[in-house]
Amino acid sequence: MSDSSLDSLKSQWTCGKCGAPLEVASVNVSYLGSGYPVDMLVCKNCKRPLVPAELALGKMLEVEKLMEDK
C-alpha cells in the first residue's frame, strides 16, 4: 500500500475495542504455504490488522491467483 493511502486510513480509523490509534506495521500474510510481509495498519495496543478493500481486492487477490497457479 502507498504511504499516502496508509496515512489517509490512519487519520480515519481507530481501534473499536480499545480506542487506540493505528500505526503502520509489517504484517506477515500467507497463502498456500508461502508468506511475505506487507506494511499495513494495526491497532497500537491490540495489534489487530486492518485490511482495506483496496488491498484485499487488489494486491492480495492478485497474489492469491498467482499462488494458486503455482
Binding site: 500474510v29 484485499a56 494458486e68
Partner: protein, 765 residues
C-alpha cells in the same frame, strides 16, 4: 493422463489430418494452401507451394490425372476444384522464380539411373540434391520418355526441354542412346541403381519377376529382388505423371537409406497416396459451380473465383458448436497437449488451470465429433488428477462446494415419509437448485405426485453434482454413500426426479436405483393441466444433462402438447442441445465465458424458451432471454412476468432452501418448523447495488451477518472517526470476510463487504 493416453487423445482428434486432396495426391501437393493463396490473389506463394513438392511444375500441371479431384469435398456441391488449371495459372505468372536448389556436399557413392522418363529424372533430381554422383542412361536420344507422346497443345516439347534441362544442369551425367543389357551393366561401377525404364523394357539385372512377367518390387520401398536395385514408374503401374514423380522420389528415399545403411521401412507411413481420416461436414455448404478456365488459362479474377470455391477442408465440428472450445482459439488435439503440459509443470505457473475448469462437461463435442472425442471427459479426468495431487486452485470450486455442503447440512436437508412410516415406495427428490430457485413449487409438485403415487416420501438435498464436476471424487463418493444409506433405510424407493443433473449423477454412481422424472409421472397419469396459454411462441431448450435421455425429453413435449402450448424445436435440441454454462461449475471458473455461452444460446431462436432445468432457466432469463420452466406452465400465473423474472441471488437461494424445507414439513406433518440461527437477528439494510456487489464477490448475506454478530458481541472492530462506520472481519473457515457497517435503528446498514483468502499471521519480525 500419461503419455500413452495423451497420444491416444491427440490421435482421436482428426483436425490435423491432411485434407483428401493432399492425401490422395501421391506427392502430397498442399492444394489447400495453394488455393488459399490464390484466393487472396497471391499467385507467388501458391507457386512456391507447388514447386516445393513438384520439380516439374508445368509438366505436371499439364498432364496430371488429378487424383486430388476424386476425393474433393467440393465435388458434390458444385464440382471438384480445378487444381491443375489453378497450378498452371501460377506457373504462367511465376515460373521465372525457380532458383537452383541447394545441393549437399558431394558423396562418394554413385547411383545409376536407368531410364530418362519422369520417375528416373525425379530420382536423379532427389539424389543429386543429396550429394550423390548420379549417372543416367537413356536408350533414346532425348530425355522425357512417355512425355513425348502428349500432343503439342497439351504439352509442348519446349516445356519438356526447359523443365528437364533445369534438372540435368544440377550435375547429372547423362548417357543417350544406351540400352543397358546384363553384360553392359556388369561393367559399370555403381553402389545402387534405380530402374525406371517403363513398361515392357529389358531386365538388365535378371531380377525376379511375377508370373505375369512384371518385376517383383516392394511397394513400400521400391526395392527389387536385388538389394541395391530399386524400380518404379510405369513399369509398375499404368502411366501417370504424378505417380511417376512420386515413385522416383520414394525410391530415392530408399536408395539414400540403403546407402546410409539405415532402415528402409522405419517411419514411412502415408508416403504415397492414402485415405485421410479427416472428415469435413458439407451439410451446410451451398453449391457453387466450377469456374472453367479459358483455353489460354485462367484470368486472375477467374483463378481467384475458382480458388475461393475450395472449402479449405478441416473438421472443427466441435469448435463450431462450443463456445468454450472456440474461446481458446484452437481445437482438441492442441488442447489435450496443453492440458497434459499443464499437468506436468512442477515449478512454473500452470497457465491452463482456468481452461481446464472452464469446460461445462456437457458432452456436445462428443455428439458432433466424427471420432467421439469428449473434452468434458478429459477435463473432468484432469480435474480429478489436479485434486488428487493438490494442484487444484482452492478458489476454483470452493464456492460451489460450500453451496453443496450447505444443502446437505442437517439444518437444510430433509428426509420425510408421508405417513410417518419408516419406508416409502417412491421418493421425490426435487434437487437443491429447484428448492433454491422456486421453493413454492416444491410442495405443489409433491402434492401432484402424491395424488397418483402411493407412499411418496421427499428428500431435500444436493445430489453431489458440484463435487463430481469439480473433480472431487472422494467427496462425491462420500455424498453418494450418504444418500444411499438413507435410500436403503427408506426401503429402496423409486426416485422421482425433477433435474437431469441429479439423474446423471444417480444413474452414473448408483445405477441400481430406479429413477423416473416428475414429467413422466405427469405424462403417465395425465396430470398436465389442460389449456394453458402463453402469448408468444416457445422453443424448447433441453438441459445438457438430458442428452440421450429420450424419456424425459419426450415427456416434456407430450406435456406441452397436453397443455395446448405451441412449441418448436431449436436447431440444437435433444441430443445436440447446448449447456447454459452452469454445468461443470464453469460459471464459477469463467463467468465471462458463460456470458458468451448464454448469448449464443439465447440468440439461436427469436422465440422465448421453455426448459425443465431451473438453472438453465435462471441463467437464460438473467441474460435477458424470456424463459419459462415447465413448472411455471404447470403451476405459475402471469407467465409473461415469470418468463422475465431474474433468478434469486446466492443468498436468497440459501434462504429459499430453508423455506422449501419448512413448507414441506408443514405440508406433510402439519407442524411449523421455523429455523433461525443467532446471526439471523442482524437484519441488514442492503441497497440493490450492494446486493450486486455481494453477488459479484460471492459473499452471502449470512457471511455478512456473521461478521456483524462477531463484531457486536466481541467488540473487535475499527471505528471510522469521520463517518462513524464500523469495520470488522470474521473468518468462519478459509475465507476472511470484512464488512463496513453502521447501525440504523434495529437494523445494520452495509456500506462495503469484501473478502480475501490470504491469512494474516500477525506482526513480521
Amino acid at each position: 493422463m500419461d503419455q500413452t493416453r495423451l497420444r491416444e487423445l491427440e490421435d482421436q482428434c482428426i483436425q490435423e489430418c491432411a485434407p483428401p486432396c493432399a492425401a490422395h495426391c501421391p506427392v502430397h501437393v498442399d492444394v489447400r494452401a495453394l488455393t488459399s493463396a490464390i484466393a487472396t490473389g497471391d499467385f507467388q506463394t501458391a507457386f512456391k507451394t507447388l514447386y516445393k513438392t513438384v520439380p516439374f511444375p508445368e509438366i505436371i500441371a499439364r498432364t496430371c490425372n488429378q487424383p486430388c479431384q476424386a476425393a474433393c469435398y467440393r465435388k458434390s456441391v458444385g464440382g471438384d476444384i480445378q487444381v491443375a488449371a489453378l497450378e498452371l495459372a501460377c506457373i504462367q505468372r511465376y515460373d521465372h522464380l525457380i532458383t537452383k536448389p541447394m545441393l549437399l556436399p558431394q558423396k562418394d557413392a554413385r547411383v545409376l539411373i536407368i531410364g530418362g522418363g519422369l520417375s528416373g529424372l525425379t530420382a536423379a533430381f532427389e539424389l543429386v540434391k543429396k550429394g550423390y554422383q548420379v549417372a543416367l542412361y537413356e536408350r533414346e536420344n532425348r530425355l522425357g520418355g512417355r512425355l513425348w507422346s502428349y500432343n503439342e497443345d497439351q504439352l509442348h516439347g519446349e516445356v519438356i526441354h526447359r523443365e528437364i534441362e533445369r534438372i540435368i544442369d544440377l550435375g547429372i551425367e547423362v548417357h543417350f542412346n544406351t540400352e543397358l543389357t546384363p553384360a553392359s551393366v556388369s561393367s559399370l561401377q555403381f553402389d545402387a541403381c534405380y530402374l525406371g525404364t517403363g513398361a515392357g523394357a529389358s531386365n538388365p539385372f535378371n531380377l525376379l519377376t511375377n508370373p505375369n512377367h512384371s518385376l517383383q518390387v516392394n511397394t513400400d520401398t521400391f526395392q527389387t529382388s536385388q538389394a541395391n536395385v530399386f524400380a518404379g514408374g510405369s513399369l509398375l503401374r499404368p502411366p501417370s505423371t504424378i505417380f511417376s514423380v512420386s515413385d522416383g522420389r520414394r525410391a530415392a528415399i530408399s536408395i539414400d537409406r540403403f546407402l546410409q545403411n539405415v532402415s528402409l521401412t522405419a517411419s514411412r507411413v502415408n508416403e504415397g497416396a492414402y485415405n485421410t481420416r479427416l472428415i469435413t461436414n458439407i451439410s451446410k455448404v451451398d453449391s457453387v459451380e466450377i469456374v472453367p478456365p479459358a483455353p489460354t488459362g485462367y484470368s486472375v479474377a477467374d483463378a481467384i473465383a475458382e480458388a475461393n470455391r475450395c472449402l479449405q477442408c478441416d473438421c472443427m465440428e466441435c469448435v463450431k458448436v462450443c463456445e468454450y472450445l472456440k474461446h481458446y482459439g484452437s481445437y482438441p488435439r492442441k488442447y489435450v497437449r496443453e492440458i497434459y503440459n499443464n499437468l506436468s509443470i512442477i515449478m512454473r505457473t500452470r497457465t491452463s488451470n482456468k481452461m481446464i475448469n472452464s469446460c461445462t462437461l456437457c458432452g456436445l463435442c462428443e455428439e458432433v465429433c466424427p471420432t467421439d472425442l469428449n473434452m468434458g471427459v478429459v477435463n473432468n479426468e484432469v480435474r480429478q488428477t489436479m485434486v488428487k495431487t493438490g494442484k487444484m486452485p482452492p478458489s476454483a470450486h470452493d464456492f460451489a462446494l460450500r453451496d453443496m455442503a450447505f444443502s446437505n447440512d442437517a439444518r437444510v436437508a430433509l428426509n420425510l415419509t408421508a405417513d410417518g412410516s419408516e419406508t416409502c415406495d417412491y421418493l421425490f427428490f426435487p434437487g437443491c437448485q429447484l428448492s433454491a430457485s422456486n421453493p413454492e413449487y416444491i410442495p405443489k409438485l409433491y402434492q401432484s405426485l402424491a395424488s397418483v403415487l402411493p407412499k411418496l416420501g421427499v428428500m431435500l438435498r444436493c445430489c453431489g453434482a458440484p463435487a463430481d464436476w469439480s473433480g472431487e471424487q472422494e467427496l462425491f463418493a462420500q455424498t453418494m454413500l450418504e444418500f444411499k444409506t438413507q435410500w436403503l433405510a427408506l426401503g429402496k424407493p423409486k426416485l422421482v426426479l425433477a433435474c437431469t443433473s441429479c439423474l446423471r449423477m444417480f444413474s452414473t454412481a448408483l445405477p441400481e436405483i430406479e429413477t423416473l422424472s416428475a414429467w413422466q409421472v405427469f405424462e403417465a397419469h395425465t396430470l398436465f393441466p389442460a389449456s394453458r396459454q402463453y402469448s408468444r411462441s416457445l422453443a424448447i431448450h433441453d438441459p445438457c444433462t438430458s442428452r440421450y435421455v429420450d424419456k424425459w425429453q419426450d415427456a416434456v413435449r407430450t406435456g406441452l402438447d397436453a397443455m395446448g402450448i405451441t412449441h418448436h424445436e431449436l436447431e440444437m435440441s435433444r441430443d445436440l442441445t447446448e449447456c447454459c454454462g452452469y454445468g461443470g461449475v464453469a460459471w464459477l471458473a469463467h463467468p465471462e465465458l458463460v456470458q458468451d455461452i448464454l448469448k449464443r444460446r439465447a440468440s439461436e431462436d427469436e422465440a422465448d424458451y421453455l426448459t425443465y432445468c431451473v438453472m438453465c432457466r435462471d441463467l437464460l432469463a438473467g441474460q435477458g432471454k424470456p424463459t419459462l420452466h415447465l413448472l411455471d406452465l404447470i403451476f405459475g400465473e402471469n407467465l409473461d412476468q415469470l418468463a422475465r423474472r431474474k433468478g434469486p441471488d446466492y443468498s436468497q437461494r440459501h434462504e429459499n432452501r430453508l423455506r422449501a424445507k419448512e413448507k414441506m414439513i408443514k405440508l406433510i406433518t402439519g407442524k411449523e418448523h421455523p429455523m433461525t440461527e443467532s446471526y439471523e437477528r442482524y437484519t441488514l439494510l442492503l441497497t440493490p447495488e450492494m446486493r450486486v456487489t455481494l453477488e459479484e464477490r460471492l459473499i452471502l448475506v449470512e457471511d455478512v451477518q456473521k461478521v456483524i454478530e462477531f463484531a457486536e458481541t466481541s467488540g473487535e472492530s475499527f471505528k471510522n472517526q469521520q463517518t462513524g462506520h464500523t469495520l470488522a472481519f470474521f473468518k468462519p473457515n478459509l475465507i476472511t470476510y470484512w464488512v463496513e457497517f453502521s447501525r440504523e435503528g434495529d437494523a445494520w446498514r452495509v456500506h462495503n463487504a469484501y473478502s480475501h483468502r490470504m491469512e494474516l499471521e500477525g506482526r513480521a519480525s
